[in-house]
């Protein structure tokens, strides 16, 4: 009897705990971004002014790049955040169909793992707290936001390349017969660093990783990788 009561109590406790645990995981990332950016801009506002005026109240000319970054962030913080949100939403939508052919999500564990890794990376790129941790000026904040947006845009492309390569690797070796060497090399390409500060650099980075995938495929068909 005691044992039954304990089991029931444990079950109820589990039921009660489950929604609480789920609720604890829910985070308003947009609000976190907004709060973080506001704090960061507030923190930098004084140091930037100090820097440009050398601590004196005199009409020193402000360097244009700093002035632009400063003005943009002070007056258009919300606008920049909304663009950041749009980039995230667009990348997330494209990540649902990274190959752009309406195909369903892959049903094998490796591809599923890769998609999860890239989804996590997308969220990581979205969080300004990570992107702006080192920013010491308004200009660096603005550049950091730009880099984060480019990183988010790269995620669906990386997913498309990874899934395409995996499809052909599986076709060559058979579903269960992909050698570990091939698998690990493929996985290392999925985790390739895409740090880019402008669209041209992003394009170059995608080209570099695409060339690596091509070399992997060449090695796969010629037996150059085990």
């Amino acid at each position: 009897m005691k044992k039954t009561a304990f089991v029931i109590a444990a079950f109820i406790a589990a039921c009660l705990a489950a929604p609480a645990a789920r609720a604890a995981e829910v985070r308003n990332l947009s609000l976190e971004n907004r709060t973080f950016l506001r704090e960061k801009v507030g923190e930098l506002r004084l140091t930037e002014l100090w820097k440009v005026s050398r601590g004196r109240l005199r009409p020193n000319p402000i360097p244009l790049s700093l002035f632009t970054a400063y003005q943009t962030l002070i007056t258009s913080g919300d606008f920049l955040l909304s663009r950041h949100d749009e980039t995230f939403a667009s990348s997330l939508a494209r990540l649902r169909d990274p190959q752009g052919n309406g195909s369903k999500r892959p049903d094998d564990s490796e591809a599923e793992t890769v998609l999860r890794v890239l989804e996590n990376e997308l969220v990581d790129a979205y969080l300004l707290k990570n992107a702006l941790a080192e920013a010491g000026t308004m200009l660096e904040v603005r550049e950091g936001m730009n880099r984060a947006a480019l990183r988010m845009q790269s995620v669906p492309v990386r997913a498309g390349l990874a899934l395409s390569a995996w499809k052909w690797i599986r076709a060559f070796h058979g579903a269960g017969g992909v050698p570990d060497g091939v698998k690990s090399r493929w996985m290392s390409l999925v985790e390739y660093d895409f740090a880019a500060s402008d669209a041209a650099e992003l394009n170059e980075a995608v080209g570099r990783v695409s060339a690596e995938y091509s070399r992997l495929m060449l090695d796969v068909v010629t037996g150059g990788v085990k």
């Binding site: 190959q99 752009g100 499809k167 091509s214 796969v220 068909v221 010629t222």
Partner: protein, 174 residues
């Protein structure tokens, strides 16, 4: 239609599909045409054997049986009935930039490889490769034949850059 015969040993422009010592010929039959490709020596032997045969009227299946019996696996054969040969629409074409084709998974990743390397990758998957400038010189019939002989599909490459045009020709199975 002349009876059994190799009316045109039209050398298809397989230079882009085959290695330097390979060739292909079109053999016409009463009910269509057969495309035969392989090493030059083997293909010429097939051609000579067909020409030397006393048989007056060949059908596609007879040609296939004859060649298979005489030459086994040394040559590749594809058969086209008249109906199919005329219906080029049954071949599905996809045209897009290479990056898009790779992302869609229509071709394996081959960006930035040399043409020969790209050909090696594609052949690993039983996909034929042709250079765009060579392929565009072919007649429609030759294009159909080239695609049919290519394997699972024929990829016509305009280069291996991300924006290079690529054409993927799928052949419907008979």
């Amino acid at each position: 239609m002349r009876k059994a015969l190799v009316t045109a040993a039209a050398m298809l422009l397989f230079s882009s599909l085959c290695a330097a010592d390979e060739m292909g010929i079109t053999v016409r039959a009463a009910d269509g045409a057969a495309l035969i490709a392989g090493e030059e020596e083997s293909v010429r032997a097939v051609e000579a054997a067909l020409n030397a045969s006393a048989k007056k009227k060949w059908f596609l299946r007879e040609i296939e049986a004859f060649i298979t019996a005489e030459h086994g696996d040394r040559v590749k054969i594809r058969l086209y009935s008249k109906l199919e040969f005329e219906r080029v629409g049954m071949f599905r074409f996809l045209r897009m930039p290479l990056r898009r084709a790779v992302l869609r998974g229509d071709v394996p990743p081959i960006e930035f490889l040399s043409f020969e390397q790209a050909r090696a990758v594609l052949e690993g998957f039983d996909i034929g490769t042709a250079a765009r400038e060579d392929f565009e010189k072919l007649t429609d019939e030759q294009k159909v034949g080239a695609a049919a002989l290519a394997g699972a599909a024929l990829v016509v490459l305009g280069g291996t850059g991300p924006d290079s045009p690529v054409e993927i020709v799928y052949v419907a199975e008979r």
